[in-house]
């Protein structure tokens, strides 16, 4: 579909949507990898997976690719993962993609490795049964995969009794197969916040091999079926895992550590190529490169300024300009406006598009520098609100040393986008430009006196 390019500020305001992940092949897409100082994520992962597959032993245990992809919220991860899915699909791989933010109730559910593996079973069955693959996994294989789950849920030991209990307790259709009943039951239990979910978790922790075998029995069948059809092997992309809420668990571990560090061996268990998204804050704080076989793939910001000087990066600014002009005609902007907005965004694409959107809300025939200043002022105000006194010292550290201090507030600074990651031949961290000029940061007292209570 060819989209019309906005020709007036009101058209730009109405059509520029900062929150939209672009579908693969969208004409608005601009490859920003050179401007980010990295290889293109979709291209890089496609290349590695193809090499792995083409070399002997790709289907053998332990030789599949396992990637972690990360980057700031709004940097374009999902857009690249859509492109990866498309590229690998065109290369003959069978793609299964799901978004944890949609499939899980991240608020109610404590998402852990076993819920991710279980979700893989549902998604592989559902997506590969569709054209062009039309793979029907034998019912007995599916039922075997969930029998352990049904045993915990129903407290029954015989399959027939389990099935009856699932039908009556969860009011699922009697004609549905056992597998579908178990799936419906677990989803209902999660939605209700039932304590049975904890029992399932405990069972999975007690006998992880059962769930590993369940997943791999299905994946192995699928891999064979794909080979028989002349396809390449299976790739599973689990997006949205970076949205798992950060919480401290009972044993002082965090939810992020539990999934990606402590239980990484389970995430690596499925016998296919895997791509997981990872919270950026975890990457910064943990040596995750030693836990997963491949180095994590980071999508840094567009490098609008060079590290060692305040000089603007012309190539990066040109790339950002193209991001806009594929949506809005250049004639809508007064000279210098796009550059102003790009620099103020720090190279964060969603912030950049948000600035464009806000600047387009003026009433002139063109978007002027005054409109840009108003938009930037609004973004500075929003970032200003998020700055708290306890962040001042770690922010000062980043400003001075181009890296995070390694303190307890690093995660917050990253999650609130107060600091941004960049890459050239090295990785560095810098304050978001709107933070640099935020009143709370500029004028904060650097020696803080605490009041004591009486």
């Amino acid at each position: 579909m060819t989209r019309a390019i906005a020709q007036t500020p009101p058209e730009a305001y109405a059509t520029v949507n900062p929150d939209e992940a672009l579908p693969s092949g969208d004409e608005r897409y601009v490859a920003l990898d050179k401007a980010r100082g990295t290889r293109n994520v979709a291209q890089l992962l496609t290349e590695i997976i193809r090499i792995r597959e083409d070399n002997i032993g790709a289907r053998a245990s332990g030789n599949h690719a396992r990637f972690l992809v990360t980057g700031h919220s709004g940097c374009g991860k999902t857009t690249e993962l859509y492109r990866l899915k498309d590229a690998l699909g065109q290369a003959g791989f069978a793609m299964v993609y799901f978004d944890a933010g949609i499939e899980f109730d991240l608020q109610k559910q404590n998402v852990d490795w076993w819920s991710v593996l279980l979700e893989m079973i549902w998604q592989v069955d559902e997506q590969l049964s569709q054209p062009p693959f039309d793979i029907r996994i034998p019912q007995d294989r599916l039922d075997d995969a969930v029998e352990w789950l049904a045993r915990v849920v129903t407290k029954k030991t015989e399959r027939r009794d389990m099935e009856g209990s699932l039908t009556t307790e969860f009011e699922v259709g009697t004609t549905l197969p056992f597998f579908a009943k178990a799936k419906a039951a677990i989803k209902a239990l999660v939605k209700a916040g039932s304590s049975t979910v904890k029992e399932i978790e405990q069972e999975a922790e007690r006998r992880p091999a059962v769930l590993h075998d369940a997943v791999n029995n299905i994946i192995t069948y699928v891999q064979d079926a794909l080979r028989d059809q002349g396809h390449r092997s299976l790739v599973i992309i689990a997006d949205g895992l970076e949205k798992i809420p950060w919480r401290v668990l009972a044993d002082r571990m965090t939810t992020h550590n539990a999934v990606f560090i402590h239980n990484s061996r389970h995430l690596k268990a499925p016998l296919c190529h895997l791509v997981y998204t990872l919270p950026l804050a975890l990457l910064i704080s943990e040596n995750i490169g030693q836990i997963f076989p491949e180095q994590p793939v980071i999508m840094p910001m567009v490098r609008v300024r060079r590290r060692d000087s305040e000089k603007e990066d012309r190539q990066a600014l040109a790339a950002m300009t193209e991001v806009v002009t594929r949506r809005v005609s250049r004639t809508v902007f007064a000279p210098g406006v796009i550059k102003m907005l790009a620099l103020a965004s720090g190279g964060h694409i969603r912030d950049f598009l948000r600035l464009v959107h806000e600047a387009a809300s003026g009433f002139g025939e063109r978007i002027t520098k005054a409109d840009a200043r108003r938009a930037i002022s609004g973004m500075v105000d929003l970032y200003n609100r998020t700055i708290q006194q306890e962040f001042i010292a770690p922010l000062d550290y980043v400003a001075q040393y181009d890296e995070l201090a390694g303190g307890p507030h690093d995660g917050e600074l990253v999650n609130r986008l107060l600091v941004l990651e960049y890459r050239n031949s090295e990785t560095w961290t810098a304050l978001h430009p709107c933070v640099q000029v935020a009143p709370r940061y500029e004028r904060a007292p650097r020696a803080h006196q605490e009041e004591t209570h009486v």
Partner: protein, 379 residues
């Protein structure tokens, strides 16, 4: 703190004029105009914020705009979260589903879910973690009418939700606009309760409003003289006992610092008594209160809670007190230090009627240099 928006020139008159009885700052008038022009350009699931600190003005402007839009054939669905909710987004989606024809969805009352200690964490998690559902379950723009402090709260604790905002419009009346930065400063200053532990180096900071438990206070009622001739004594400036001239004066004197009471044997006195009071009753019992308690009893924490409550204009909900006050928090040790320092430069300081406002301005500037108040703000 709200940074000043730089007004642009050439903002056209609003599509819908303001209510004639509404008074807005010039910047707010411009935002009203922008809001009326831009709202119709928003289609599909969008998220916009309209910030109005005064509840009365907020209701007035919302109703006026909703009526104007409806008269133009643009249906406005409304939802007022009158009680706190654990999952306010789910309430919004449920309401939106029964009004699929709505062109805009106006939401009020979101702040109630965020200030309720019981509902706060769940409400914030719901907003931040389920924001993707806005795309699928909302067919029209959601316009959240709330306070400036609520936006700050959301910006800090629901960054993913706020990242979806498509516009923020601030409609402030002049009086409220002047106070807003100071109120936010108080919220920032007192919202965290820092706890120190003998077993840990790092102190723990918790949300004071989440953990605060309203204690019952007791009021000590002093013994009352049964004779007309009062036997009360009070202390004069030099510490001498000064018998009051009359029973009426005696009552007035009893309100001053009472160090000792001596009784003549011919007078009869009722026993002193204590009465349990709720916090609200205590606050309403008099204009001047002395809160007395052992060290660590929670006196300062109580004052911080009250400062937060009035700074957030939450007295009706938290204290069942329907009044608005601007808290002025004075730590006497800081005031004493200020007086000592100022008296070196001005020996006649004690005659200055503005000594307290001067202290408050200086202290605010020390604690929060980014908060810019006019020099006569506390006068």
């Amino acid at each position: 703190m709200r940074t000043k928006k730089k007004p642009t020139s050439k903002t056209p008159p609003p599509v819908y004029p303001m209510p004639h009885d509404a008074t807005l700052t010039p910047a707010a008038q411009e935002d009203w105009s922008r809001l009326t022009h831009l709202l119709p350009l928003n289609r599909g699931p969008r998220l916009l914020f309209v910030l109005v600190d005064s509840p009365v003005l907020r209701r007035r402007l919302l109703e006026h705009l909703a009526a104007a839009l409806s008269a133009d054939g643009q249906t406005v669905a409304r939802l007022d979260l009158t009680a706190p909710h654990y999952q306010p987004l789910q309430e919004i989606f449920a309401a939106a589903e029964v009004q699929p024809q709505a062109r805009f969805f106006f939401l009020t009352g979101l702040e109630r879910s965020l200030i309720s200690p019981e509902h706060r964490l769940s409400a914030l998690a719901d907003l931040n973690l389920h924001r993707d559902q806005l795309r699928d379950r909302l067919a029209c723009p959601l316009v959240v009418w709330t306070t400036d402090a609520t936006l700050t709260d959301l910006a800090r604790h629901t960054p993913d939700f706020i990242a979806w905002q498509n516009g923020i419009f601030t409609l402030a009346d002049p009086a409220v606009a002047v106070e807003a930065p100071y109120r936010q400063h108080l919220i920032d200053r007192f919202s965290k309760l820092t706890l120190y532990s003998a077993t840990s180096d790092a102190p723990l900071a918790v949300d004071l409003e989440r953990v605060f438990v309203k204690l019952t206070t007791t009021q000590q009622r002093p013994p009352v003289a049964s004779s007309v001739t009062t036997a009360w004594e009070s202390l004069g400036p030099s510490g001498e006992a000064v018998p009051p001239a009359s029973a009426t004066a005696g009552k007035a004197a009893a309100r001053r610092t009472l160090r000792s009471v001596s009784f003549s044997p011919e007078h009869e006195f009722a026993e002193g008594s204590t009465a349990a009071l709720s916090l609200t009753e205590a606050l309403q019992s008099g204009r001047c209160l002395a809160v007395i308690g052992a060290p660590g009893a929670g006196k300062t924490t109580l004052l911080h809670f009250l400062a937060l409550t009035f700074a957030r204009r939450q007295a009706p909900e938290r204290l069942d007190m329907h009044e608005e006050r601007l808290p002025l928090f004075v730590a006497l040790r800081d005031f004493n230090r200020f007086l000592d320092e100022a008296a070196r430069d001005d020996p006649l300081l004690h005659r200055d009627p503005n000594v307290l406002p001067r202290f408050l301005i200086k202290r605010t500037q020390e604690l929060a240099p980014h908060v810019q108040l006019s020099p006569d703000f506390f006068h």
